[in-house]
């Protein structure tokens, strides 16, 4: 094998990249929170939807389901970015529930996508808020929960 390797290194060398992600350093849980509120709102609207006009019902269900789907996708993407790119091993060591929190929240996102399911939508928001709190703590600022100005009338996490 050693002789073979000595022969093979005589081949002309080309370059291949095992790219690292671009380290822009700009991360924030805000978009995931807004998207989680949107999933709750769409679930509320779909649950409460009533009309005698079948065509309008179909139209409204399509639009609301589309928005719910789209924002569930945003949550997944934002959480994956935080999980894979922002949080490092020391964060997972310091906050031992963080890994599980991501897993459970992402599972709830799938359920909230697949169904008109307020319990799952609430679980998504709860998980996203907890992740946001941990995020701000790792940034050295004190997280605080405040009532949102959204029609969901639920909380968001910001910092002092």
């Amino acid at each position: 094998m050693k002789i073979l390797k000595k022969i093979l290194v005589l081949l002309p060398e080309q370059i291949a990249y095992a790219h690292c992600d671009i380290p822009c350093g700009i991360y924030d849980p805000h978009m995931a929170q807004v998207a989680a509120h949107t999933v709750i709102r769409m679930t509320q609207l779909l649950t409460d939807l009533k009309s005698d006009d079948q065509k309008k019902m179909t139209h409204d269900i399509s639009r609301m389901t589309h928005v719910k789907e789209e924002h569930a996708g945003i949550i997944e993407e934002e959480l994956e970015t935080l999980r894979n790119d922002y949080f490092k091993e020391e964060h997972y060591a310091q906050y031992s529930n963080l890994g599980d929190l991501f897993t459970k929240t992402l599972k709830s996102v799938s359920k909230a996508r697949q169904n008109i399911d307020m319990v799952s939508a609430e679980e998504v928001l709860s998980g996203v808020l907890q992740i946001a709190e941990i995020f701000y703590k790792t940034k050295g600022v004190e997280p605080v929960r405040v009532k949102s100005v959204f029609p969901t009338e639920r909380e968001i996490v910001t910092y002092k």
Binding site: L8, V9, I15, A16, A18, H19, C20
Partner: protein, 97 residues
Amino acid sequence: MLLLARFKIIGHSMEPQIEDGQSVLVSSISYLFKTPKINDIVAFKDIRNTQVLIKRITKIKNGKYFVLGDNKRDSLDSRKLGFISKDKIIGEVILNL
């Protein structure tokens, strides 16, 4: 593309399997007789065909390949690049030199 080619790796996303600066042997013969499978480390062209990238296949769906760096916390891969098609794959990494 030669049937066998030597590539020097730049970047950390395949560590610890392949270190930054290490050379690997890529075979384009492999996939003449078989299709890429999960866990293969492949060299492939990026979407603009300007660079060759090295990643590991982790999922196959509808004949397209989802590739990830082994060092997932620091890798630009299918999580952002999306699935890649077979025509982008140059070959399989068969040997660390």
